[in-house]
């Protein structure tokens, strides 16, 4: 009897497991079947046919941006009652892997939010749809040239910049005062910046803690390699030479690495810091200067615990001039792409246009200081409503340089650049040798 009970139980478990797999398979089949029919519905869309556009993003997972996303979906629905934006909220750190896995399993979202540090991986993949025809010449010509280049691969626009941001210089006025510097006179050149950083590093915080003069992120992350391009460019360097061949074994790149080594050796910058460490230190008054995007303002208010009152403590300026004779920065953005497998590309493209429209960007700017990558909005008074915004807009429109051309190995290349920064800062290795090794690595990666 016991044996029979065991057999029955085992049988039930086995069958239910197999059935489970079967039902999942069936569900998958159903889902793919519905996808294969849905497209036709969408493609043949008459205004009365309901359409759902899936939009994978990390904005819905973050408290600061969730209300904006909800508002976008609601207002778009009000204008287009038959189109529903369905958000697929994925944390920032997981969105790349998850969306690629979703695409590989035939379940790609229609729109995907991406970041500049990994946009190359999307642009060069086979899961993204070129947008030239979907968005039209007029819209594309309105994108700031530098961003247009950043979002192009093999001559085709593979995504659009949303919530773009240049890197600007943030400085702490109270620390400037404490160090005997003029709080209303931020550095104009790299040399001035280094001198000021040295002066600041000599003073201590009220609690006796060290104050760093000028911070650069050098942790081993692709984004830190990307950010280092800002310095490479300012030293007149590049990743590619005039013949579009990888060449970082140049005096300019070596000089950039020496710059990183100097600020590390002299204790001006915290060793191996992440960007978020710099934000923390700046917000608690232990860092005099560093460069970040427009979101710095919201971060400082939050991390300092002082809210808007903390706005008086810091100032913002254009990135100081270095070897190029003018301010140089790079542009970051939350890029938006449309999946190649999407069956509602036309509607997805319309949503991209809508959320980058003046109306929506203005609302996003009011709540989160977001800027626009559209030339036609560069002088818009609503987006230039404060000194802080005007500096960001000026840096964005006049002083950013395109990133290296998109390449399947670019994200790994950024990681290699970050590793090179660690070798000269933490490892104290010779910059010339590091540049030589980096050159060999990048030549292998960026074929």
């Amino acid at each position: 009897m016991k044996k029979l009970a065991c057999l029955l139980l085992a049988g039930i478990i086995s069958v239910s497991m197999l059935a489970g797999c079967g039902s999942e398979e069936k569900a998958a089949q159903n889902s793919s079947a519905s996808q294969s029919t849905a497209p036709q519905t969408a493609a043949q869309t008459s205004d009365n046919t309901p359409v759902t556009v899936k939009f994978a993003n990390w904005g819905m997972s973050e408290a600061a941006t969730k209300p904006v996303f909800e508002q976008i979906a609601e207002s778009y629905k009000a204008l287009h009652p038959n189109t529903t934006i369905e958000y697929v909220g994925i944390p920032y750190g997981d969105i790349k892997q998850q969306t690629f896995v979703m695409a590989a399993s035939g379940n790609a979202p229609d729109i995907i939010q991406t970041h500049t540090a990994w946009f190359s991986t999307y642009a060069t993949s086979d899961i993204v749809e070129p947008l030239d025809d979907l968005l039209g010449k007029e819209y594309i010509d309105d994108i700031i040239d530098s961003y247009k280049a950043d979002y192009t691969y093999n001559g085709k626009l593979m995504g659009i910049p949303w919530a773009p941001s240049p890197y600007v210089l943030y400085y702490n006025k109270e620390i400037f005062k404490k160090a005997g510097l003029d709080p209303e006179a931020p550095p104009k050149t790299y040399d001035e910046m280094l001198d000021m950083a040295r002066t600041i590093s000599k003073v201590k915080a009220d609690d006796g803690n060290k104050i760093y003069g000028f911070g650069e992120a050098t942790d081993k992350l692709p984004i830190n390699g990307l950010v280092a391009l800002r310095n490479i460019y300012s030293f007149n360097g590049s990743v590619y030479d005039k013949d579009s061949k990888v060449n970082v074994n140049t005096p300019e790149v070596i000089e950039t690495l020496k710059f990183y080594q100097t600020i590390s050796n002299e204790g001006l910058s915290p060793a191996g810091a992440k960007l978020k460490d710099l934000r923390n230190l700046f917000s608690i008054g232990q860092l005099g200067m560093y460069m970040d995007g427009y979101y710095g303002k919201a971060v400082f208010r939050n991390l300092s615990g002082k809210g808007e009152a903390y706005d008086k403590v810091w100032g913002v300026a254009l990135v100081p001039v270095n070897k190029t004779g003018k301010s140089v920065s790079i542009g970051e953005a939350h890029g938006l792409v449309i999946s190649k497998d999407s069956k509602v590309k036309t509607q997805a493209a319309d949503i991209l246009k809508y959320i980058t429209s003046k109306e929506m960007i203005t609302q996003y700017h009011k709540s989160n200081d977001v800027l626009s990558a559209r030339k036609s909005l560069s002088a818009d008074p609503d987006l230039n409503d404060s000194d802080f915004a005007r500096i960001c807009v000026e840096q964005l429109n006049s002083y950013i340089q395109p990133l290296p051309a998109n390449n399947p190995g670019m994200e790994q290349g950024y990681l290699e650049i970050a590793t090179a920064l660690q070798r000269v800062t933490v490892g104290k290795e010779e910059p010339a040798k590091v540049a030589q090794d980096l050159d060999a690595k990048l030549k292998g990666l960026l074929k």
Binding site: A10, D126, K220, G272, G409, T419
Partner: protein, 313 residues
């Protein structure tokens, strides 16, 4: 009549056959049936993914062009060995796993012996020692990352306050300190498990063995090496093997605390494999690293079991 007899004979023969079948096959069918659920589960969660990984390791397969996977003449394996990254990661993994297991074993043995003694508050101590084991590894990583934070971490605060160091150390960004820092976090997390296992082994050793040894004039050292250790041999074999495997595949502590840096100082096979598969999205090469890693672990387990079975002989 003869017809009846013949029917009766065939019925008996059928029943005998059925009995024969029952005796020889029935138990096997029963065994297979009760093993089936576990076997099916293992197939879907372990065997099939492993076979799929081995298969993928021979193909040019990336998440960016998964639809056009092609055989690439062992290029993934050649790629793995073409740079020094795999060697560095293997060296880091072996160093980390062996160091953590050896230190863990020594500390756990000492702690287990203390907890096995008649000391006041023994029961409370046995409960307290379990606390780090209850904390999830990811939380442990975040906790120690903050403890080691150079500007406002408690480690620098204590060491500077007590005059042990003069200026803050960048624990997780220093080429020499990063690996030991992760090892400290790992030891804190893993010590309770090995301690409790060894303690339970010690409690199973018959007390009269020690009494006889005392009568024979054995000292504490002799009792430890000739009674405690031999009696614990099986427990030691199991817990050290589990610890080696757990540390060989350790991912969250490294990923959260150092991300494999600075430079390559804490890049282990787990980190290298993850970076290859999910940063570069090169699933083929990532799978090749995974396959090599699996082979190394299988070889180690085989050698380890062989070593202990020789001792048993």
């Amino acid at each position: 009549m003869s017809g009846k007899n013949s029917a009766k004979a065939s019925s008996i023969s059928f029943r005998q056959n059925r009995l024969l079948l029952s005796n020889s096959v029935k138990d096997r069918i029963f065994l297979i049936t009760i093993l089936a659920p576990a076997f099916i589960l293992l197939c879907f969660t372990i065997f099939i993914p492993i076979m799929k990984s081995v298969y993928m390791s021979f193909f040019d397969i990336t998440l960016t062009n998964i639809k056009s996977a092609a055989w690439n003449n062992f290029a993934n394996y050649r790629d793995v060995f073409s740079t020094g990254d795999f060697g560095t990661a293997l060296k880091n993994t072996v160093f980390y796993a062996s160091s953590v297991v050896i230190i863990q074993f020594i500390l756990s043995m000492a702690l287990a012996m203390i907890l096995n003694m008649n000391i006041p508050g023994r029961k409370l101590l046995r409960t307290l020692v379990l606390i780090p084991w209850i904390v999830p590894t990811i939380v442990v990583a975040l906790l120690w990352m903050w403890i080691f934070q150079p500007q406002y971490g408690v480690m620098n605060h204590i060491l500077m306050g007590t005059g042990i160091i003069n200026e803050p150390k960048t624990w997780l960004s220093d080429l020499k300190l990063a690996m030991p820092s992760v090892m400290i976090a790992a030891l804190w997390r893993q010590l309770p498990f090995m301690t409790i296992m060894l303690l339970s082994g010690m409690q199973g050793i018959p007390e009269d063995m020690y009494e006889a040894a005392v009568i024979d004039g054995a000292n504490k050292k002799q009792m430890f090496f000739h009674i405690t250790l031999p009696f614990l041999a099986n427990v030691i074999k199991t817990v050290t093997l589990v610890a080696v495997i757990e540390n060989f595949k350790m991912f969250p502590l490294f990923w959260i605390m150092t991300g494999g840096g600075p430079v390559m100082a804490t890049t282990t096979l787990a980190i290298l494999s993850y970076q290859t598969a999910f940063t570069s999205l090169n699933l083929g090469k990532g799978a090749a690293i995974g396959v090599l890693w699996l082979l190394i672990l299988i070889l180690f387990s085989w050698g380890y079991n062989k070593l202990f079975s020789l001792r048993e002989d």
